[in-house]
């Protein structure tokens, strides 16, 4: 059985992420979507919330499961005996950073092959940051995230906006 790991902060999950997960699920026997807990990002949503969002959004994809991890992805790949790390590619800046990580992960775990997929063109320039930016200002995010999580996102961003210490990333 070939297992792929699909890591990300998913803060929150967008149509672009969902598209990548869908595509990965047709290429591998099992896809584990991993919510990463990074030291260098202060997320708008807790890991638990992001998992719930992903579960709602991937409901119906039978070979997809959700997990969380606060270590190196190369280590997680080893633990679950995966053959691939799946990443969506959007644009040039993504590309450089992801190359760097792909090479580092390969050095840390020889079996951690990174596989890049593209989203459909309408999601090519979509990011979680844009979604949070629009939601923080009360804009309409229905073109960017699945319907089942819109209300949760809107409420959180409104709340964050009123927090004087909040800095949108």
């Amino acid at each position: 059985m070939r297992i792929a790991v699909c890591p990300g902060s998913f803060d929150p999950v967008t149509f672009g992420h969902r598209d990548i997960i869908n595509r990965a699920s047709t290429l591998f026997d099992k896809v584990i979507v991993v919510v990463t807990v990074n030291l260098n990002k202060k997320p708008a949503f807790t890991a638990a919330e992001r998992i719930v969002f992903l579960e709602k959004v991937t409901a119906g994809l039978e070979n997809v499961v959700i997990d969380t991890w606060d270590g190196l992805i190369s280590e997680y790949v080893r633990t679950v005996n995966a053959c691939a790390i799946v990443k969506g590619l959007r644009a040039v800046s993504d590309f450089e950073y992801e190359f760097q990580m792909a090479l580092a992960n390969k050095l840390l775990n020889e079996n951690a092959e990174t596989v890049f997929l593209t989203t459909s063109s309408e999601n090519m320039y979509l990011s979680s940051s844009v979604v949070k930016h629009i939601a923080a200002y009360g804009g309409d995010i229905s073109a960017f995230v699945p319907k089942v999580i819109i209300k949760d996102i809107e409420e959180r961003l409104e709340q964050l906006r009123n927090d004087p210490n909040f800095v949108l990333k």
Copy 2:
């Protein structure tokens, strides 16, 4: 009457910004330069100060006015009934980000067409960050910003440099 909106943080305005505003003023009947108040940026200058800088720098351009906004630009465009958002393009990293915003703004407001202009080559690699970096170290910024605002910038950056909580962005 065709109105264009020219949004930015202008923290502070540079020769590059002035060049873009000049060019926009020849293409549209009216140009509104909008100082955006972003949740994700801690500016070195207040919105009021940035407006004063812009007013000094655009004095003499009769069809240019200055305004400020703390919401979505697509919403501002709707409010003033503009036909275009004008942005200056400098380099590849700008380009990717601006593409993303242009597509998002078009989705949020079908009439918010983003128009990209280039600065002259000597300003192509100039940014507000570089200006603040140089001013914070007491360097000469006269090649980068108009004469009328140099002293204000130098004083502020010297003051910020001595603030232990200040982090230059």
Copy 3:
């Protein structure tokens, strides 16, 4: 009256070009689409054919006219007294080349301001080359070019494919 010039080889015109022309027509009083006759390109279609394609595709846009030119665009801009050159931007490689041309045109004619517009995301990665590539192999090009010119394109590319001297660019 503000006139914009929209130059290109349009060999053949695609949905991406049509989108840019549409957008330009809302920003300027008159848009002249100019089929350029370049020394460095051997087109698949004659200038006359490309003009007919453009006329079919822009029918209904009242302030758009089609023309052809075999000199420098900066010179054409001067001749028709235009205030802007409109170009669509797709991706990084476009961007670098177009920057170069924009700066050169500005040097050759101070009034030749280049204005970059983006296409909608579904056309962002579409080019005339891809269209010709697919048509040369008998593929379906209906997702890329307007219906009224599909048959003409298919016939020409089939014919070119059987020409032993033909090299697809």
Copy 4:
């Protein structure tokens, strides 16, 4: 059984190509390496020669077979019922072009998912063009292509160099 198609001109195959094919062979049940016969490229080696090179280089990889195709790759993918097109990614210019083709192929065949793999860092900036350039001047290509095909490449390029009509691409 999941089949991946790995298309390219392989003119000639390099260590970079071999690396990508190796990696693909661990991710899919079967990998078909397809020598494409393009209208827009005048290869240095015939399709038959390129196939022989690939067979030598992939000897020992049991789930890899070599084929040739002179049509659209999306059509080939349909014919062999593959689930993925595998491409190696090297650098920014690759990236833009490959994005364009990936989106076009997806439109032409909904099941033609393009999967991008990276080569190891020492092959990241290696291309068939560089190999031919060096060989044409009698340089040492042993760092770039497998030993079993070096002599064939050197002989062909020396011969081509003396052909007055030859233009190295």
Copy 5:
């Protein structure tokens, strides 16, 4: 005597940095590696620690010395009468930023010529950030930094990880 200045945050020094310093030492009579104290970066290691790391790593390079500076690099270049600023180039995002700084430095000091060198391909995608990321999670960093400083880095990052205010940059 031609002197080159090699500035950076070196937080910490990596194999990529060492490679650039080695190469610079063959091109100039004297190379001064300068640990910059930036207002916009909160380093993981103090300037004193970073100097010690660099001294260990460059031991044996007779024409290389280490220094520190908390002002503009163009000013430092003037002070030591250097003819060049040496920078390593890794990838596109580096490239844009470094261009900007090179042009600004040239404006600030006409003699501050920036010279870009490339690292060997295995270090091309290596950065101090990746090293800190891996070390913070207890991963193996021996492929990225010289042996003599591994233990120091591991201890510091473990300590930082347990600091609730620590944000990895």
Copy 6:
């Protein structure tokens, strides 16, 4: 004595090239500008003409000499015992290609260190192709090439334009 080699097609030399040669002449004891005779380029000017242009343009730079070479640059570097290859960097597409060549040259000759310099910002987007394009159409090229070679370039391009087999590259 440190010798640098500055290779290029210089077809024809521009202000950008002259700027790079000037800068290189301050960094090295001797700079050899090498007109390369490439198999993959059909130049507008013969090697002999390009040498004459370069001699005119570099007159007065005492440590600069002009030469020509029809082999691998790494071989030339070995022959003259140079320590560096100097290249000007303009934009992203240059960058990728030059990286590839720098790594290949280093593999072919361990002492062939490539050193990248930037031109001043007004030449950043200038290329020989743009010069030939403008001259072929009778445009004014005085902003792009030194005065002493303008007439020669204009005459040649006018002549080439009337050659039915001429394709501008």
